[in-house]
């Protein structure tokens, strides 16, 4: 198919790059330009923490070798876009030059939330999202920092704490909720993570809100004050109370913007041939009943990119996400979730099964409807098979069926302890079911780890 239109993508994160790659897969002749001020080449921002901690170098976080882009004729331009002139279909670049497009894809991602706290712009106060943020954090923690305060108990917060610990900087967490990431995690899981945070010697202050960040005469942070009046001396403050769409440069441009760039399920904005994907997009209506209107995870960004690439080349289809999944790692504890497991639920409508290992670092939760069909699972310290739960949830398996087949779902490395066996036993006891015992192979019995 011949197609010589010029698609310009602003942003080289997972959404923009996935879109560019799939455009090229689907069509050989479309001209593709990706413009980003953040970095020359696509890198995985989920890996920023590992650079700081010396697990990797920056180039290791680049999923494709540098020749890949030229080979696939994806033009890269490293520059910040100042503004977009939608009427003449051109971008104004910071160096004063212009770049015109036939179709524009905006994939500018997020920026850390700042809620107007006093002192939020002091030196030594920052969020962590971009490559520039990481460089700033290197700079801010190079010397003279003994203690840091992290505002907000979420995924980036705990990453930041782990990073600071590597540099021997002690950390206090200020968390507004009653437990760590309690707005997402049920009570038991939140407590499990909380215990692990303390095991790593972080000071976790729950139900504590930031009042003000205090600076010294040089404009550098010297302490934070909580709403209860406690003053915590510190030389660094991490702002990790979530992120919001990075769309400031598009305000008043004619593009309809709410929290993010307003799009329909085809990623179309209010302006013809302009699309938005990834963290910066806000759906007019949620794409599914269990989804939010702004989707801010790696996986959704990738799916937006895949879908829009299809829509720019083939017959457009609406974005229809499948079964929800996500994962994270809290210090040493891995977390996976499949389907719907909200932080709280109505006990009349939803049944919960929860198992936790005596060591307090491994857990399995399954929520089910009143008829005991599966809604979703939360797993900590265990690995489970995505395909298994995708199918089970999609096909509304009964909880009993899921538990009976749990060995098939196990994704832990070989010789790891067969936790699925005790999960099965606990389920059988809690729900008065008869679950046949799994027989372990002799190799596993002889050499495998014990529960």
């Amino acid at each position: 198919m011949s197609n010589s239109k010029h698609v310009v993508i602003i942003g080289n994160g997972i959404s923009g790059i996935t879109c560019a790659r799939h455009l090229r897969k689907l069509n050989d002749s479309v001209r593709i330009t990706v413009i980003s001020g953040e970095s020359e080449y696509f890198f995985s921002r989920t890996a920023l923490m590992y650079i700081y901690m010396g697990h990797m170098k920056f180039e290791h976080t680049q999923p494709y070798e540098n020749w890949f882009w030229e080979k696939n004729r994806i033009e890269l331009k490293q520059a910040w876009v100042k503004s977009v002139d939608f009427s003449s279909k051109s971008l104004r670049i910071e160096d004063g030059s212009q770049l015109s497009y036939d179709e524009l894809v905006i994939a500018t991602g997020s920026k850390p939330n700042k809620f107007g706290w006093r002192g939020q712009d002091l030196k030594g106060v920052q969020g962590l999202y971009s490559k520039q943020d990481l460089e700033l954090m290197e700079e801010n923690t190079k010397s003279g920092v003994n203690h840091a305060v992290i505002i907000g108990g979420g995924l980036i917060g705990i990453e930041m704490a782990e990073m600071l610990a590597y540099r021997n900087i002690s950390v206090t967490f200020l968390v507004r909720e009653s437990g760590f990431w309690r707005n997402v995690l049920p009570k038991e899981e939140s407590e499990l993570v909380g215990r692990h945070i303390q095991e790593h010697h972080f000071d976790l202050k729950l139900e504590t809100e930031l009042d003000e960040i205090l600076g010294d005469t040089s404009g550098r942070v010297r302490a934070v004050r909580t709403k209860s009046g406690e003053e915590i001396p510190c030389q660094f403050v991490g702002l990790t109370a979530g992120v919001s769409p990075n769309v400031d440069f598009l305000k008043e441009s004619g593009l309809e913007i709410g929290r993010g760039i307003k799009v329909d399920l085809y990623f179309r904005t209010n302006i013809d041939q302009v699309y938005a994907i990834g963290d910066c997009a806000e759906f007019n209506e949620a794409p599914a009943e269990d989804r939010k209107t702004v989707e801010q995870v790696w996986y959704t960004g990738r799916m937006h990119g895949e879908t829009l690439a299809n829509n720019l080349i083939h017959e457009p289809v609406p974005y229809r996400p499948g079964v929800w999944f996500n994962s994270a790692k809290f210090l040493d504890i891995e977390y996976q979730t499949y389907g719907q497991v909200p932080a709280d639920w109505d006990g009349d409508q939803v049944k919960s099964f929860y198992w936790e290992h005596a060591g307090g670092k491994i857990s399995f939760r399954m929520l089910m409807r009143r008829d005991e069909s599966i809604l979703g699972v939360n797993v900590f310290g265990l690995r489970m098979r995505h395909e298994f739960f995708d199918q089970a949830i999609r096909e509304n398996w009964s909880a009993e069926q899921v538990i009976r087949k749990l060995e098939k779902a196990n994704f832990d490395p070989e010789f790891f302890a067969p936790y699925y066996k005790v999960i099965q036993e606990k389920f059988a006891a809690d729900f008065d079911k008869n679950i046949p015992k799994v027989k372990l192979s002799w190799v596993q019995q002889l050499f495998g780890a014990r529960v």
Partner: protein, 514 residues
């Protein structure tokens, strides 16, 4: 660092200093008697004449001794060569046995003392350094600071370590006469095990085994909580100690051929050499068993085990080279090159070495049955070329010396012909794969960074594709370091193992081939 670890480090450094200085001790003196004992009957007269000027002279160092030895010996040989009297030239290298016999040094007199001061302190220091590691930390990935380390990121310590190893290997392979003090030092141990006096190979085998044991303990500490890593580390420690080190020595004690029951042709490239075959055939039932066992390993064990478990059953569970790479080499695994270019080079090189080993062996066997009538000379030259270039330079000097420069599997990846053979089976007929867990990959790059074989694991994982690669040795570290639980080493049905057109889960809008 804990106090105990600092003590360990100091002891280790003291030990390695002693180890490095010991070769310089003592004096060398030859006499007629010693020359007679150390030379073959046909050379006894000539060697006595050649070395006569050295008799009774005391040399203060191995350098002066060997320099004078070379002067006399070479002038004799050069003379004959210029007269083209090839059959009178002495081709044997007598430097090592004569230097060993000529030495008188405190090391020779009290070997255990010096053994304790060098190897003993290195082992003790290594244990004191490794055992307390991560003691008060929860189990988890211990990669903090690797790329900020002067040792693990090609910094000055890494360069120093690599250079030391390279130098050691060069001396060991080509100039062992300079190491006779160290060989005397381990002589009593060799006497206990095999009833024979030590060679430089016994010294090497001992150090090699101890290094795997001490650094294996480091692996236990580093990977506490990871049963797979613990087990395969225990396995390589066991196979090195028992199969590669102790059993061959004990066989010799029992008057049987020296034999490593887990070494497989073509890694064991001289298995079919005529002198080996002669040894097997002249050693009765045991020798015959060894010959048949070795052939069974090649023809049955490799394909069958690799079919069921992948090449990991050998490379990261049994093999001695693998054992060293997985223990001593583990701190350097992140230095392997992941580029597509290096993968291309790897395929040419490793299969080239395999082809060379096969051709050489076929020629050797053909010659064995034809009484060296067919290209006999070429075969001999091929043997010496292979032994020098592949057996010593590639496998030894580059294979281990380059750990701090190119990662811990340079030999296994680019050179090992057995790895190539196992790899062909693994790629085309095996139940082993690394399964990618649906769409959970976040492209962070930990898997690729820590793949010692230089496989760009992430390339597959982020497409939701299983990893089926001939070079994968199944060390399981990609799975361990993955922060999202995406990778699992598995043996399973062949159907669906290679999913060339993977489909990522979770997006119902379109069906796509990532």
């Amino acid at each position: 660092m804990k106090k105990l670890q600092i003590v360990g480090l100091v002891l280790f450094l003291a030990g390695i200093s002693a180890f490095t200085l010991i070769p310089f001790l003592g004096t060398y003196e030859l006499d007629f008697e010693k020359v007679q004992q150390q030379t073959k009957e046909i050379h006894q007269g000539k060697m006595g004449d050649i070395l006569q000027p050295m008799f009774g002279k005391e040399f203060p160092s191995s350098f002066s001794f060997l320099s004078e030895f070379n002067t006399h010996f070479n002038s004799y040989n050069d003379q004959l060569k210029s007269e083209q009297k090839w059959d009178e030239v002495i081709w044997e290298d007598y430097r090592f046995p004569l230097a060993k016999a000529a030495l008188s040094s405190p090391v020779k007199n009290s070997p255990w003392l010096y053994f304790g001061l060098s190897i003993g302190l290195m082992v003790l220091g290594g244990l004191l350094y490794n055992l307390p590691k991560y003691q008060e930390e929860p189990a988890g990935i211990k990669h903090n600071g690797i790329f900020h380390s002067a040792m693990k990121n090609r910094g000055w310590l890494g360069i120093l370590t690599g250079s030391y190893l390279i130098l050691f290997y060069i001396i060991l392979y080509w100039f062992p006469a300079y190491l006779v003090n160290l060989v005397w030092m381990v002589d009593p141990l060799s006497q206990v095990l095999s009833g024979n006096s030590a060679s430089q190979w016994f010294l090497y085998g001992l150090i090699y085994t101890l290094a795997i044991l001490v650094m294996g303990i480091r692996m236990f500490r580093k990977y506490k909580g990871n049963a797979y890593q613990q087990l395969r580390t225990a396995s390589v420690m066991f196979f090195q100690t028992a199969f590669a080190f102790l059993i061959p020595e004990i066989l010799v004690l029992l008057n049987q051929p020296y034999f490593d029951f887990k070494n497989i042709w073509p890694l064991d490239y001289d298995f079919f050499y005529d002198y080996q075959i002669e040894t097997f055939l002249s050693s009765g039932g045991v020798g015959l068993f060894m010959l048949i066992w070795g052939i069974m390993l090649i023809l049955i064990a490799v394909p069958v085990f690799t079919y069921f478990y992948g090449k990991r059953w050998y490379c990261s569970w049994v093999c001695g080279c693998g054992g060293l790479a997985e223990t001593v080499g583990d701190p350097y695994r992140q230095l392997s090159d992941k580029s597509l270019k290096s993968w291309k080079i790897e395929r040419y090189l490793v299969h080239g070495v395999l082809a060379l080993a096969v051709v050489m062996t076929l020629l050797t066997i053909a010659n064995y049955f034809s009484g060296f009538s067919l290209l006999g000379n070429v075969t001999n030259q091929l043997h010496s070329f292979y032994g020098f270039a592949i057996g010593s330079a590639f496998a030894g000097v580059v294979g281990t010396g380059f750990y701090p420069f190119m990662g811990n599997r340079v030999w296994c990846r680019f050179g090992c012909p057995l790895a190539a053979y196992l790899g062909i089976v693994q790629r085309f007929k095996s139940r082993f794969r690394i399964t990618t867990n649906g769409g959970q990959c976040i492209s962070c790059g930990n898997c690729s960074t820590y793949c010692e074989m230089g496989i760009d694991v992430r390339w597959y994982a982020q497409r939701g594709q299983n990893i089926v690669r001939s070079s994968c040795v199944g060390c399981g570290v990609c799975s361990a370091v993955c922060p999202r639980g995406v990778l699992k080493l598995e043996n399973g049905p062949e159907e669906g193992r290679i999913n060339d057109l993977p489909i990522s889960i979770g997006n119902d809008s379109i069906k796509l081939n990532a």
